[in-house]
């Protein structure tokens, strides 16, 4: 019964239908959380905290109040609050060294409404553990399941129907995380949300709600972030968008109409006009991997590595966020 062209089209069509089916099921996690089907809890990994305390990672000491809370939201490759990437780890270590007074936190999984790691989920834990093993040991293709799943969560955060719910959940997780590190919502110690890649959207989305709960100034640093024109852009004290000139992933912004320059009334364009958002060019930097924002190897003999330049810019932002005009635009 099939004609020839439809035979050829059948395989991609089936793949598309399977993908759409999966994509359509993803919002149920967020919606079910809102409806209270999964309880109220916010999860955190005890093994991770013990390991961090063992390694003497900085916690605030009462004698030395912290100057800032820096919350690093990882890219879409993560499965839990633990980082998978040596580059991210290197970045965080350098940032902690460079900013001894700040509390740098990264044990947060920004792609789950209640911070529950994929490997700890009630039904699909086995699947994600398998995908994680494939990601670490190969073949890497199965590992892309994790990236796709997390990318769909980013799409949820950008969706007008689910975004407000998802972003509220993330804001709760974020507040819970910083409060575990002795953050006082009544204080004026600034919070910096660093959103790497897809987490740029998550960071910007959550600001709207964090703002209602705390008096602290909230800044967003999007590290090659992919985000839509979210109301959070106008709520944050300032949004710094670090944009690598070779960052091919930035092409995703064309999928977000509010980011198009000619839609003058979009939140993003208003934020740019009002000076509430700053684009910082990072010359020669790509999105990830070699030549990416967090690459340790210098691009040429005698030059500084991308990771050092990125850390320098981000620490300059954290130190002088209230005077964005003083931040060097060297990239």
């Amino acid at each position: 019964m099939f004609t020839e062209w439809s035979d050829l089209l059948l395989l991609p069509l089936v793949a598309l239908i399977i993908f759409l089916f999966w994509a359509s099921l993803t919002p149920f996690e967020t919606l079910g959380w809102w409806a209270g089907w999964f309880g109220n809890a916010i999860y955190h990994d005890t093994a991770l905290n013990e390991a961090q305390e063992g390694a003497n990672v900085q916690k605030t000491r009462p004698s030395q109040p912290s100057t800032a809370f820096v919350l690093f939201l990882s890219g879409i490759g993560r499965v839990s609050g633990q980082t998978l990437s040596y580059r991210e780890q290197g970045f965080l270590d350098r940032l902690r060294q460079r900013l001894p007074g700040a509390v740098v936190i990264d044990n947060i999984f920004p792609y789950s409404v209640n911070n529950l790691a994929l490997t700890g989920q009630p039904i699909f834990a086995g699947l994600w553990q398998w995908a994680l093993r494939r990601k670490l040991e190969g073949p890497a293709l199965a590992g892309y399941l994790i990236n796709t799943r997390n990318l769909l969560q980013v799409a949820i955060a950008a969706d007008k129907r689910y975004g407000p719910i998802y972003n509220q959940a993330m804001a709760e997780v974020m507040l819970d995380t910083v409060m575990r590190y002795d953050f006082d919502p009544e204080s004026e110690t600034p919070i910096f949300l660093i959103g790497y890649s897809g987490a740029g959207q998550i960071a910007i989305g959550a600001v709207t709600y964090l703002r209602e709960w705390t008096k602290a100034p909230i800044y967003v640093i999007s590290l090659g972030g992919i985000f839509s024109s979210d109301p959070g852009l106008l709520v944050a004290n300032h949004v710094f968008h670090l944009w690598g000139t070779r960052d091919k992933a930035q092409i995703w912004r064309f999928l977000m109409p509010g980011r198009w320059s000619w839609i003058a009334t979009s939140e993003w364009n208003r934020a740019l006009r009002q000076g509430r958002a700053t684009i910082i060019r990072m010359d020669g930097m790509g999105h990830t991997g070699r030549g990416g924002y967090l690459d340790r190897n210098p691009p040429a003999e005698g030059e500084r590595s991308n990771i050092d330049r990125t850390v320098e810019i981000i620490s300059a932002i954290i130190e002088q966020a209230d005077h964005p005009e003083h931040i060097p635009r060297i990239g």
């Binding site: 919606l31 079910g32 999860y43 955190h44 390991a51 670490l136 949820i156 950008a158 689910y162 719910i165």
Partner: protein
């Protein structure tokens, strides 16, 4: 076949009893899919899981009633316009088959692309009904277009007049099924807040649950054997 808008399907199935069964199956699947696609509002109002299933069944049933009314409208408008007598069951099969694109209405839940998919499906359904009338009931294309447009208008008029009590009954039934007042509409989402009190976070301590997960990446061995390995970073 009906998904591909293949004309032969309408002629094939029109006069058989199984055609009606096939059409009913498509309408049922489309009804379930569409109800799921529109279920966001149930979640927004925090419906319990069992109630959710009940509300979905009611919504599916109301889709079936909608199908019957739609068939009736098309049948009467078509008969009036063309003057020719069409059997009601033939119209029912043809209209039912034209529901096929709505089997994918569930995909409207796709994050970020939901609106686009909704648009594509609406267009596809419109083309499907016109083609169905054209091939299935041997109408001229302009007649098919006119009949479906008029049918749509009659449906809209009915909804606002004599259909009003039926719609009221439906929403009453849905409210009963949901078990919670369905006050939140999709447009209210930006104003929804989970916590009324600004200092709700004081209870965060109580809500925290610990889990113990195995380490994601095993610790690198600190032995000498690795020192000569060049790590690709």
């Amino acid at each position: 076949m009906s998904l591909r808008l293949d004309p032969s399907v309408y002629v094939l199935l029109q006069d058989r009893a199984e055609g009606l069964r096939y059409a009913c199956l498509i309408v049922l699947l489309a009804g379930i899919s569409e109800s799921l696609g529109q279920s966001v509002v149930l979640f927004l109002n925090r419906v319990r899981p069992q109630r959710f299933v009940l509300a979905l069944s009611i919504s599916t049933a109301s889709h079936l009633v909608g199908y019957l009314l739609w068939t009736l409208t098309i049948w009467s408008v078509g008969s009036l316009l063309s003057g020719a007598e069409q059997s009601w069951s033939a119209v029912a099969v043809v209209v039912g088959l034209a529901y096929a694109p709505q089997v994918f209405a569930f995909f409207e839940l796709t994050p970020y692309l939901g609106n686009l998919i909704w648009g594509i499906l609406s267009l596809w359904s419109m083309v499907a009904i016109i083609l169905a009338l054209h091939y299935g009931l041997n109408m001229e294309p302009w007649q098919a277009l006119l009949v479906s447009a008029l049918g749509w208008m009659v449906m809209q008029a009915l909804r606002r007049t004599v259909g009003l009590p039926i719609l009221c009954f439906r929403s009453w039934l849905q409210r009963r099924a949901a078990g919670v007042p369905l006050v939140v509409k999709p447009d209210d989402v930006p104003h929804l807040r989970r916590h009324r009190r600004p200092n709700w976070y004081e209870q965060l301590e109580l809500r925290r649950r610990s889990v113990r997960l195995p380490p994601v990446r095993k610790k690198r061995k600190p032995t000498d054997e690795q020192t000569h390995v060049h790590r690709m970073e």
